[in-house]
């Protein structure tokens, strides 16, 4: 895609905080709500003489994520020390992986504006998080609750070309780690962080421009905006004949712009070396096979199955698979009623609308898949009309009662018995003698008026098909 005759090159680093109960190298708890420095111990504050011990679950989550991203899993990966000084890094180094990361050479696919796009995953490596600094100007306060939290850093190839692709890539990574249940994907709380590397080059060029890293982006909408802003800013610089500095910039969501945090002129020198306190992470084929067998069906594959096996429109399939719980809900519903399209429609229009309005997650829905499936079944059996079903649905949402109970309590069963319908029709015709005469005189457009009157008289419970049929007969005279 061309931006004023330039092409943008975007690569993304995503830090995924793994959903373990304890930290990467010690047993401190990981919960977000803890008081200041409450989740710390001699290991996480970097006391001399302490030793790190690897969290088994963090390895499992990392391998599963690597597999889901189509990566090769290295049988023997190595933890390395990344050395730099900062007060929230108590040891003076971060334990990370450098030249021998756990996962490499993967790829993921997703759709952008209906077109499938594949982005390479260069690597995914394990590391520990740093603590949190709070700067006041006169001093800095340090909370080490986050120090040592297990992270998986997922690095994409420089494969994205538009802001929309960058945002969709981020959403896809989030969707995958949430499907795997290895990260809650909360950008605002920082359990997932997105850094974008952006450069521009003249269209047709193969030589990338100087890249700028953008940090502090806490939503995918902002990923799109920040990348868009950065592309424009860089093109402006190049057009004016100025040099693009290799630097880290922060996104300011209020001002809708990026600003410089630090230049990388004297290239950082982290002096990586293998951490002598930790043995290499050795992974067996059996472990990989076991984790692979435990992987859930991934979003895009599931969406494709909903299209091919259930006959759903692609749009429906993509919406329903956006979250694992939603896709599970849909599958459970359609299993009950065996009506794929109706299940999809009810979930996408009625249920999602109610959930959005109530600001609830699908897991908090008072209507279960069983209840919704039965409701759809009742419509298909002709027990209730689609219109009544909406009223039943509303009542189910409020009361949490199953559809059988709601229909019984509110006496909403559809009147399909021809005799009963005939009786209502007779009354309606008797009360509207003039219109009947007009209809028989040729004003057949009045048919709709009669249908409406009958439905109204039956409080919406008359079966519309039966009404139509009997009414036609009766009006013939």
């Amino acid at each position: 895609m061309s931006f004023r005759g330039y092409e943008a090159v975007i690569g993304i680093e995503v830090h995924v905080q793994l959903k373990t109960a304890s930290k990467m190298f010690c047993a401190d708890a990981t919960e977000f709500e803890a008081g200041d420095n409450e989740n710390t111990s001699p290991v996480s504050v970097g006391m001399p003489g302490t030793l790190p011990v690897v969290n088994k679950k963090a390895i499992e989550f990392s391998i599963k994520t690597g597999l889901a991203l189509g990566c090769e899993i290295r049988k023997k990966s190595v933890f390395a020390r990344k050395n730099y000084f900062y007060p929230d890094l108590p040891k003076g180094y971060q334990i990370s992986q450098f030249d021998l990361p756990l996962c490499e050479n993967g790829k993921i696919s997703f759709k952008v504006d209906g077109v499938e796009k594949t982005i390479s995953i260069t690597r995914a490596h394990m590391e520990e998080d740093a603590g949190k600094s709070n700067h006041s100007g006169e001093y800095t306060l340090i909370n080490l609750n986050r120090a040592g939290m297990p992270l998986l850093e997922i690095v994409s190839g420089p494969d994205m070309r538009t802001p929309a692709e960058a945002a969709e890539y981020g959403r896809t990574i989030r969707q995958i780690v949430r499907y795997l249940d290895v990260c809650d994907g909360n950008l605002e709380e920082g359990s997932m962080r997105c850094d974008c590397n952006v450069s521009v080059m003249k269209e047709g060029s193969t030589k990338f421009g100087t890249k700028v890293e953008i940090k502090n982006i806490n939503s995918f909408r902002f990923v799109e905006k920040a990348v868009e802003f950065e592309i424009d800013r860089q093109i402006d610089l190049v057009e004016r004949g100025e040099k693009i500095l290799q630097e880290t910039r922060l996104w300011d969501p209020d001002k809708n712009k990026t600003f410089s945090m630090r230049t990388k002129e004297d290239a950082q020198d982290y002096r990586y070396f293998p951490d002598p306190d930790l043995l290499p992470v050795t992974v067996t084929d059996a472990m990989i096979a076991k984790f692979r067998s435990e992987l859930p069906e991934l979003p895009l594959a599931r969406a494709k199955r909903f299209v091919s096996a259930h006959g759903l429109p692609e749009y429906d399939a993509l919406v329903l698979t956006s979250e694992k719980e939603l896709a599970d809900f849909y599958e459970a519903t359609t299993k009950v009623c065996n009506n794929h399209k109706a299940s999809s429609n009810w979930i996408m229009t009625e249920l999602l609308r109610e959930l959005n309005q109530a600001n609830k997650e699908i897991s908090q829905s008072p209507i279960t898949p069983e209840m919704l499936g039965r409701l759809i079944g009742f419509i298909d059996e002709g027990k209730i009309s689609g219109k009544i079903a909406k009223a039943v649905f509303a009542e189910m949402w409020v009361s949490g009662k199953d559809p059988d109970t709601v229909i019984k309590e509110k006496n909403l069963v559809q009147i399909s018995d021809a005799g009963a319908v005939e009786k209502i029709i007779d009354e309606v015709l008797a009360a509207n003698a003039q219109q009947v005469a007009d209809y028989r005189g040729g004003r057949t457009k009045l048919f709709g008026f009669f249908v409406g009157a009958v439905m109204k008289a039956s409080k919406g419970q008359a079966n519309p098909d039966v009404v139509n049929k009997v009414l036609l007969e009766k009006l013939k005279g």
Binding site: T20, A21, S22, A27, D28, A29, T30, G35, D36, N37, E38, N39, T40, S41, P42, V45, V53, V54, N55, K56, K57, A58, I59, V78, N83, F85, Y86, P87, L100, S133, N134, H135, S136, G137, E138, Y139, T140, L141, I142, N143, L144, D269, R271, P274, P276, L278, L279, P280, V281, T282
Partner: protein, 93 residues
Amino acid sequence: MIDPKTIAHIAKLARLEVSAEEASRYSGDLSKALGYFEQISKVDTQGVEPLVTPSEMQPFWREDEAKREFTAEEMTANAPEKMGNLFKVPPVV
């Protein structure tokens, strides 16, 4: 060759204050020490995999169980300065 400029760079990375006079002294000392180690690079390592650790044992991994064995007060007790249970350090930005 470890010249005084390299010494200044290393000192900066290590957050050490090194005077010009010290830098030139360390430059000689370090060059000598490194020269000594350079003998190792003469060994023919053709076809030898880089060694990460000499101990080829199964790593020990911990079960994912959270424990709270220390209070925030204890963990910040040695801090030269603190505010509440937070470490207080000179301003960094």
